[in-house]
C-alpha cells in the first residue's frame, strides 16, 4: 500500500488549477484548428482564429484563457494500492484549489451563500471522490464556466423513448443555448442512472478527448449522428453563423431503472478546460 499525504494532494490540485486554466486542451485546440479550416462562414472563421490566438497568448503569458475560471469540479479516483487513511482528501483538494487560483491570479467567482451572495472567494469547489479498480491516486480538475453551465438540461424521459427522442432532446438543449454560451460547444451527455447521476455523467463525459467516440457502438453512432445534426443548426462560432456549432458530443451511459430514462445535457463552451494527474 502506498501512503498518500495531504500535502501531495494539495500541490497536485494547485498545479492542475494553474494548468487547466491557461493551457487549452490539445484535443480542443486541434478541433478548433480543424474547424477553422472547414468553416464556410467568414465571421465564424474569424472567431475560430481569434480563439487559437487567444490560446497562444494565454499559454505564453500564463494568463487565464477565459475570465470565467469557473466553478472547479474535481474528480478524485482512489485505486486499491493507495492508503488514504487519516487523510482529509476533500479539505486538501479545497486548499489546493485556493492556492492555485490565488497564485495564477485567477478569478474569485464563488459566493459562499447562494441566496445572500456577498463578496466572492476562490472556493469551495465541488469534489467527487470514488474508489476505483485502476491503480494510483488520480485527480482531475475541470473549471466549469457558468455561461454554459447555466444551459444544462435534465429530462426524465419515458423508458420507451427511442434514439430519436433522446437526440431530439439533446438537439433542443443546444438550440436553446443558441449563441449565448460561447459556441462551438462540446456537448456532454449522461444517459441512465438516477437524475443526479445522469448530471454527473454528463459532466464527466466532457473529460473524454473529444476526438474519441464512445466504446459502446450504438452510443458512438448516436454521438456521430448528433455531431452531424448539431452542425446543421447554423448557430456557428459565437452564434454568428456557420457550420461549426459543436466540436464534439461525448455521451456516457449507465444502467438505470425499468421505469425511467434520465438524460442530462451539460454543455461546455469552446474553452473546455480540464487537467489531470496520477499521483
Amino acid at each position: 500500500m502506498r501512503k498518500i499525504r495531504e500535502k501531495d494532494i494539495r500541490e497536485c490540485v494547485r498545479r492542475l488549477a494553474l494548468k487547466a486554466n491557461v493551457r487549452l486542451r490539445d484535443d480542443v485546440r486541434r478541433a478548433i484548428w480543424a474547424a477553422a479550416g472547414r468553416e464556410v462562414s467568414a465571421r465564424g472563421r474569424r472567431v475560430l482564429r481569434e480563439l487559437l490566438e487567444n490560446a497562444k497568448i494565454a499559454q505564453r503569458d500564463s494568463l487565464a484563457l477565459c475570465q470565467d475560471t469557473g466553478l472547479p469540479v474535481v474528480f478524485v479516483e482512489i485505486g486499491p494500492d493507495v492508503d488514504a487513511s487519516g487523510v482529509n482528501v476533500t479539505e486538501a483538494v479545497q486548499q489546493g484549489v485556493v492556492r492555485g487560483y490565488r497564485e495564477g491570479s485567477l478569478r474569485n467567482s464563488i459566493v459562499a451563500d447562494p441566496l445572500r451572495r456577498g463578496k466572492p472567494g476562490f472556493g469551495p469547489c465541488i469534489v467527487h471522490t470514488t474508489f476505483v479498480r485502476s491503480k494510483g491516486f488520480k485527480v482531475t480538475l475541470l473549471p466549469k464556466g457558468f455561461g454554459c453551465e447555466n444551459k444544462t438540461q435534465l429530462k426524465m424521459m419515458p423508458p420507451t423513448s427511442d434514439a430519436k427522442d433522446i437526440e431530439d432532446f439533446i438537439v433542443g438543449a443546444v438550440r436553446d443555448a443558441g449563441p449565448d454560451a460561447c459556441p462551438p460547444y462540446i456537448v456532454g451527455v449522461g444517459i441512465g442512472g438516477s437524475s443526479d447521476y445522469a448530471c454527473q455523467l454528463a459532466k464527466e463525459a466532457l473529460l473524454r478527448p473529444i476526438d474519441k467516440r464512445s466504446r459502446v457502438p450504438h452510443v458512438a453512432r448516436m454521438e456521430k449522428a448528433l455531431i452531424q445534426r448539431l452542425n446543421r443548426l447554423g448557430i456557428g462560432p459565437m452564434g454568428l453563423g456557420g457550420k461549426t456549432t459543436v466540436l464534439g458530443v461525448n455521451i456516457l451511459s449507465y444502467p438505470t431503472h425499468i421505469a425511467g430514462l434520465p438524460v442530462c445535457v451539460n454543455i461546455s463552451c469552446h474553452v473546455l478546460r480540464s487537467a489531470s494527474e496520477i499521483l
Binding site: L51, A64, Q67, D68, M238, L240
Partner: protein
C-alpha cells in the same frame, strides 16, 4: 473595419449597421449582474448613482485578478441576456452602448431602438487576447463585489461586432430565445 472612440456620438450611433466590425477605443465601464442590480435599485429610488452612466458604454465583464505590471487580467464578455431585465432603466438613464455576448430580449432590442443606442458583441472565451487591448483600469465603485465591481477600462482597438444597431436590427433575429 470601423474605428470608433468613446463617447459615442449620435451621428456615429446612427451610422452603425448590424454586423459591422468595429475597433473601439476610449473608456468603458465594467458592470454585470450585481452592479446592475444596485444601479437599477438606485435609479428606482431616485438616489444619486456612484457612477455616471449617461453617454457611457457598459462592458458585461468580470475580469480575473490583475497581476503586478499588467493593466488587467483576462477580460472577455459574459452572457448579456442575464442583464436584460435590468437594462431598460439604464438605457432610459442615458446608457449608449453595451458590450457582451449572446442574445437580448425583445424589450431590450426595442429600448435600444427607442433610445438610439448600440449592443456590441465581443468574442467570448478570448479573455487573454482581449486583455491585450486594455491600456489601464481604474476602480469606480462597488469594490465589495470583487470581480463584479465597476471598473473603468481604457481600451485601444477593442474588437467588436455590432449585435443590435440603433434601428433595432439584431444579428441574432433568426435565433429567438425561448422565454
Amino acid at each position: 473595419m470601423i474605428r470608433l472612440s468613446t463617447p459615442l456620438d449620435p451621428s456615429v450611433l446612427k451610422s452603425l449597421r448590424v454586423g459591422d466590425e468595429v475597433l473601439l477605443s476610449g473608456k468603458v465601464l465594467t458592470a454585470r449582474d450585481q452592479a446592475h442590480k444596485r444601479i437599477v435599485a438606485a435609479l428606482k429610488k431616485g438616489a444619486r448613482l456612484p457612477v455616471d452612466i449617461k453617454g457611457c458604454v457598459i462592458y458585461y465583464c468580470g475580469p480575473t485578478k490583475t497581476r503586478p505590471g499588467s493593466a488587467i487580467g483576462s477580460c472577455g464578455p459574459t452572457t448579456a441576456g442575464r442583464m436584460d431585465k435590468m437594462t431598460v432603466p439604464l438605457l432610459k438613464a442615458g446608457l449608449k452602448g453595451m458590450i457582451g455576448k449572446g442574445r437580448r430580449s425583445p424589450e431590450v432590442r426595442q429600448a435600444i431602438r427607442k433610445y438610439r443606442a448600440v449592443y456590441f458583441l465581443a468574442t467570448g472565451g478570448a479573455g487573454a487576447l482581449l486583455s491585450k487591448k486594455v491600456r489601464s483600469a481604474r476602480l469606480v465603485c462597488y469594490a465589495d463585489l470583487g470581480p463584479e465591481a465597476v471598473v473603468e477600462l481604457t481600451v485601444k482597438d477593442f474588437p467588436l461586432v455590432v449585435g443590435i444597431d440603433a434601428e433595432g436590427r439584431d444579428v441574432f433575429a433568426h435565433q429567438e430565445r425561448k422565454r
